[in-house]
Symmetry: C2
Subunit: 452 residues, 2 copies
């Protein structure tokens, strides 16, 4: 029997079991089972308002219009008094006696408190018990009315509550998970403060996070990081497309190394030696020779680095641009300058919720940047460092320490954490860099620097 | 001496030579040399209007505003009588006696005919000679007035000419290149027709093209293909972002194979066995389990295929989407349906020039598609084939031949070359496909098919 048939049989069996337990086979879509087995066998006249939805009822059946789910992130004061339906994960459950339970429901990193209160003709005590007994990270459908509590809500992103009338578990999570999202969402500050108050909160370590990445990426901060990352690429692309660039996809499997300086991953390509591209540099340049004028690429870059610093990665997503220069290399700096300012602006304006989500767990100050990016000549940078008592080789490169120091000095003098350093010494630039016309010890090159 | 210093020295030498030959060192930017050495040594009072610009004059000097270059692709009747400056490649040169020369100048695949006519006080005979003697693919700056000839212009994309007043060579190409772009741009039809008329035109073979990719991608058709490819990704992304998807970048270096069925490239990852991702499938699914809801990725896919067909590639750019289903798998088909129609519309509307450029070399008919994509059940497809005399296993997959036949039948019956075939037999789908609720021999799955 092949796996598909086995799977089909298994489903068939489950279906029959489900028919026996729920007699729900002929019920219309979403009509819940009469009683949820996980609760109790005693008859509950309000059993239709809650329970586990069996797989059979979740399968694709009638092609109907999509129900009107409200996004948790859209739950605001404006919806006060409105009936809504939300779908999300049951992040934390808390019972208060037998008549009340709280569930924090989370969708895409946004959380809302749902209140299940026993009340005649709507919510039974069994339903409260069912709510309190949900396993963390189960997916639930919650029907209810939006209410605005008189005091500010701590611990959820949304400042409203939902007074629950119906509650269905769409997908039950395992009772014990290696990570609780609540724990994984905690900032160091919270942990420290609790410790000082004598309480020891769980700290989820990096290895546990990486070993359970599917759970860890559910935190509000990680959801925010991925959405910001998506927007970084989006605004990068949109800006460049509007400036007449075209997006290309250069080969990643190549015959030689792309650029000196970093180690390559080697592999066997049908009997021939090949390696993974360490940079799209040469292919981008070929695209320019091939008359594209202006190109960019967003794609993976592979470097078999042996350094373990926060600046070294074996695989990362590179954002690369290349353009022909018509008169002066400042044309490139102009593009890059406007590109970054556009990106910073866009993130501040369009990703404020995501930045907030990241900031709650990993506090940070907004980036200080100028409307027109500061352009500092390498010589000027060397001079600034010298005046501050730091002597460096004027024709060498900045090391991490002098770069940091220069960043500090620039911030003090110009009030920006982002700047362009140009006219680098020719000796420290790659072979294809043009020397400066007035002093061949320097080159028509630049780097963008963040001073943090 | 390190390579940078060597390079600097070399440039310095060239600069000095250039000073000696042209005495142009202190001239303002773009002031051309007094006489172009490639022409003749006799004094030409109009020498300032043409010549090779020495490297020294091309180096970044004064930061000035960009000159107003007109794009070749923008040269239309509306500019009649206007003075323009264009920069492009000298694709072909043709002298007509000593007083006239034609240059076809190409920029990003768009071509225009430039006419150099000897005339007092503007264009000397030496300038005509200089124009006719340019090496193909040299980059030139052409100043002139736009004119509209009384007869239609064959052989260029733009239907105007430029009456040249100044002509400078910015970068001289080698006198002989392995490919002439004119040859590489020819359609099979042209070659055949010429052959029948007794003329043998050059046909550039695939291996020559691939060995000289930088030249080959300069053809109008290839420029169009790359721009269309860029727009395919662009509209794909914009549509999905507007539908609440987020873009992710999944790892390409992974520990195991991503999905059965195709061979993997293996490599050594710092002493551990690793391989290149054959598909982002499992990572996309993890992203869904990780609460992203809807994700997509555009990135390289690696398959160590041993099949040599037009459907097998060892490395290609994959466009992948994944979304959670809320009620019915038709939700996925709805997205995909609208996605493709949006893409087809966009390409037809926004890339018409590029489609034309491709069509001139590789003629094709516009795609026939419906406003709402046809959805055919696998069973229905089998039935249509049966009625047409083709018997296939109703629970197996379509082979290339039956797929082609079905495409024909669909085109005849429904008038579309693009359709969705769904409810595939479960046995031929991967392990994660959901069986149909009413018949577990079929599955909640689909494929988009083009019938050509």
């Amino acid at each position: 029997m092949n796996p598909q048939n086995r799977q089909a049989k298994k489903l068939q069996r489950r279906k029959q079991q489900s028919k026996r337990s729920y007699a729900a086979a002929r019920k219309p879509l979403w009509q819940p089972p009469r009683a949820a087995t996980s609760l109790s066998i005693e008859e509950d006249p309000l059993a239709a308002n809650y329970g586990n939805i069996p797989l059979l009822d979740l399968q694709s059946k009638v092609e109907a219009d999509l129900k009107a789910w409200t996004k948790v992130g859209d739950l605001t004061h404006e919806l006060k008094g409105k009936e809504v339906l939300i779908r999300g994960r049951a992040q934390t459950m808390r019972a208060v006696g037998k008549n009340m339970a709280f569930i924090v429901v989370r969708e895409k990193g946004f959380t809302v408190q749902c209140v299940v209160t026993a009340q005649p003709d709507v919510v039974s005590k069994q339903m409260v018990k069912f709510a309190a007994g949900l396993s963390r990270e189960s997916i639930v459908d919650v029907h209810g009315v939006v209410s605005v509590p008189s005091i500010a809500i701590k611990g959820t992103t949304q400042q409203v509550e939902i007074q629950v009338s119906k509650l269905y578990c769409v997908d039950k999570a395992m009772p014990t998970l290696p990570i609780n999202i609540e724990d994984a969402s905690r900032s160091e500050k919270e942990i420290e403060e609790a410790l000082q108050a004598g309480e020891k909160l769980v700290r989820v370590n990096q290895d546990t996070r990486l070993n359970n990445r599917v759970l860890d990426i559910r935190t509000s901060a990680n959801q925010g990081i991925f959405r910001i990352q998506c927007q970084v690429c989006n605004i990068f692309r949109q800006f460049l497309l509007s400036e007449d660039f075209i997006e290309i996809h250069t080969p990643k499997l190549i015959a030689g190394s792309s650029e000196g300086g970093s180690a390559v991953f080697k592999l066997d390509y049908k009997g021939q030696p090949a390696c993974l591209a360490q940079s799209p540099q040469l292919h981008k340049q070929m695209a320019i020779c091939g008359d594209f004028g202006r190109v960019f690429e967003i794609g993976p870059v592979f470097r078999a680095e042996d350094s373990y610093t926060h600046r070294h990665l074996c695989e990362f997503t590179g954002l690369d641009i290349e353009l022909e220069i018509r008169q002066h290399y400042t044309e490139v700096m102009d593009i890059v300058d406007r590109l970054f300012v556009t990106m910073f602006d866009h993130l501040n304006n369009k990703c404020s919720k995501d930045l907030e989500a990241v900031g709650r767990q990993y506090p940070f100050e907004p980036l200080k940047y100028l409307r027109k990016t500061l352009r500092l000549k390498f010589e000027e940078g060397v001079q600034m460092l010298k005046e501050a008592g730091v002597e460096i080789d004027p024709y060498g490169d900045l090391n991490t320490e002098s770069e940091r120091k220069l960043g500090q000095l620039v911030l003090e003098k110009y009030g920006t954490e982002f700047y362009i350093l140009h006219r680098y010494p020719l000796a420290v630039r790659p072979f294809y860099t043009m020397p400066c016309f007035d002093d061949p010890k320097y080159s028509n090159s630049f780097r963008c620097l963040y001073s943090r």
